[in-house]
Amino acid sequence: MNTQEEVGEFTQIFNALMSLMRKFIFKVLCVGPIPTNISFIMDGNRRFAKKRNLEGLDAGHRAGFISVKYILQYCKEIGVPYVTLYAFGMDNFKRGPEEVKCVMDLMLEKVELTIDQAVSGNMNGVRIIFAGDLNSLNERFRAATQKLMKLTEENRDLIVVVCVAYSTSVEIVHAVRDSCVRKCKNGDGPVALELSDVEECMYTSVVPVPDLVIRTGGGDRLSNFMTWQTSRSLLHRTEALWPELGLWHLVWAILKFQRMQDCLQKKKKFH
């Protein structure tokens, strides 16, 4: 009969083996081009909970958070510099108030957990940035996001942009307002507004545009997520629900990206 220690050891050996296998796969993958910024539209949490008969409104989202941790770990191991996550859209506020509250509370819980991790120095070089209309969040959540962003400011190994209360329409409206305020002060002549002026004022201006968009849950739409930034990105969809997204899905998406990289480079040259 195995003792607690032996079970622990077996798990450790197993994890080490898995880690070695992943290293090998990622080394092969890294021979080709790796996307600079991968963005994930994390759809399918509630369907997952229904499928597995999980109790609780936030069960699917909790499973989704576990998936987030694994995906971020894989991206870090591969060496992807930026990851963008579509956590909560402005249009998701249309959902039932209990569900919205549940999701907000869960996100707050996870942010506070991550703050504790950051304080104790366990972030592994991951920087977290929150993008979106943060003023529409409750006070406590907003304060937590500011704190986490401040704590992880110096980290450079992997930069994660979490889009909360985000939608492209809101982002563009905000960018237009900001650039109007800047430009309309200058003299009486016509307003000289350029693309760069608008792009500077966007929530996601601090990170490069995504090269690859992965949407889970089988839907084939952008759902008002970074439609500006992803105008030339490769759009990859998978039937797998977000909590089911694993190593192989990610590897497949990156392989697809590499196959299409030639065309992408030609078009980027012309941009």
Partner: protein, 310 residues
């Protein structure tokens, strides 16, 4: 209408052609349906995948009314369909033809889709003809394309006007040749009261450019004191976009042919909740069956717009 959405031809090199020779042949052939490559004539009857005998778009007399195919349900038809007509160059290359033969085939395909859209109750059809990214093409190619576009418009618009189709052109018209602009204005004016189908052709267009010009308009209004900065909202931007020429500016379905999985800067604001469909066929091969497949896929989808369907 012309598929001007040209993919950069990989092996085709204009420098191989004597420019004067090209211009001479172009001047000789005024009719845009006359091909410039001798191969095209011999291939037409044999290898042409598209029925070129249908040279006119005709909607119905009542006795020819085409009913909806049984796979499609009338109440679930999209109101606005947008299409990125990709693959003409590749189609021509695969058949050993010249790129402009591919565009000609693309025109036939587009006519078919316009006809079907009108018959099946789609109210707005937006097609991506020429992108701002295409300006990097050689000058001679661009001039050639615009002259073809002008001739197509002139020869087809009477027909479409007769069939109650409204034509609108969106995009940055500042770089278009004046003769083309004249034809465009005339076409838009003559067909502006038609109601059966609105065909929006995007020429010199990009989604970012559209949003930027809307923002410039709004910024000017703020500067002139007409509106306050706080009054800028989504509705205001929507009103300033070029797609304000239609009642349904948001496409329900976007189709892109030739297997590319990208939006390529076509419509941006308007694509927020559009269902995307990526077809493997090249545009000239797309046709009725591809269209039915795209529409069937659309009708099976559950659209939530961010909310929940419980």
């Amino acid at each position: 209408m012309l598929s001007l959405r040209v993919r950069p031809p990989t092996s085709f090199d204009f420098r191989r052609f004597n420019v004067r020779d090209l211009e001479r042949r172009w001047r000789l052939s005024r009719d845009c349906f006359l091909s410039f490559s001798p191969k095209f004539e011999e291939n037409r009857g044999v290898r042409f995948g598209v029925k070129s005998s249908k040279s006119e778009v005709s909607f119905t007399a009542a006795e020819e009314e085409e009913t909806l195919p049984e796979e499609l349900q009338p109440e679930l038809m999209p109101k606005h369909v947008a299409i990125i007509m990709d693959g003409n160059g590749r189609w021509a290359k695969n058949r050993g033809l010249q790129p402009w033969d591919g565009h000609r085939a693309g025109v036939e395909a587009l006519k078919e889709i316009v006809e079907l859209s009108g018959k099946w109750g789609i109210q707005v059809l937006t097609v991506f003809a020429f992108s701002t990214d295409n300006w990097i093409r050689p000058r001679i190619e661009i001039d050639f394309l615009f002259s073809l576009f002008e001739r197509s418009l002139k020869s087809e618009f009477q027909n479409l006007a007769k069939n109650n189709v409204r034509i609108s052109i969106i995009g940055d018209s500042s770089k278009l040749p004046k003769s083309l602009l004249r034809v465009i204005n005339e076409v838009e004016e003559v067909t502006k009261n038609n109601t059966r189908l609105q065909l929006i052709v995007a020429v010199g267009y990009s989604g970012k450019y559209d949003v930027l010009q809307a923002c410039r308009g709004i910024a000017q209004r703020v500067k002139d004191g007409e509106i306050e900065v706080e009054e800028i909202d989504e509705r205001l931007i929507e009103e300033e976009l070029e797609t304000n020429c239609t009642e349904f500016p948001y496409p329900d379905l976007l189709i892109r042919t030739s297997g590319e999985l990208r939006v390529s800067n076509f419509l941006l604001w308007q694509l927020a909740y559009t269902e995307l469909f990526f077809a493997q066929e090249l545009w000239p091969d797309f046709g009725r069956s591809g269209f039915i497949e795209a529409l069937t896929s659309f009708q099976q989808r559950q659209r939530r717009f961010g909310g929940r369907k419980s």
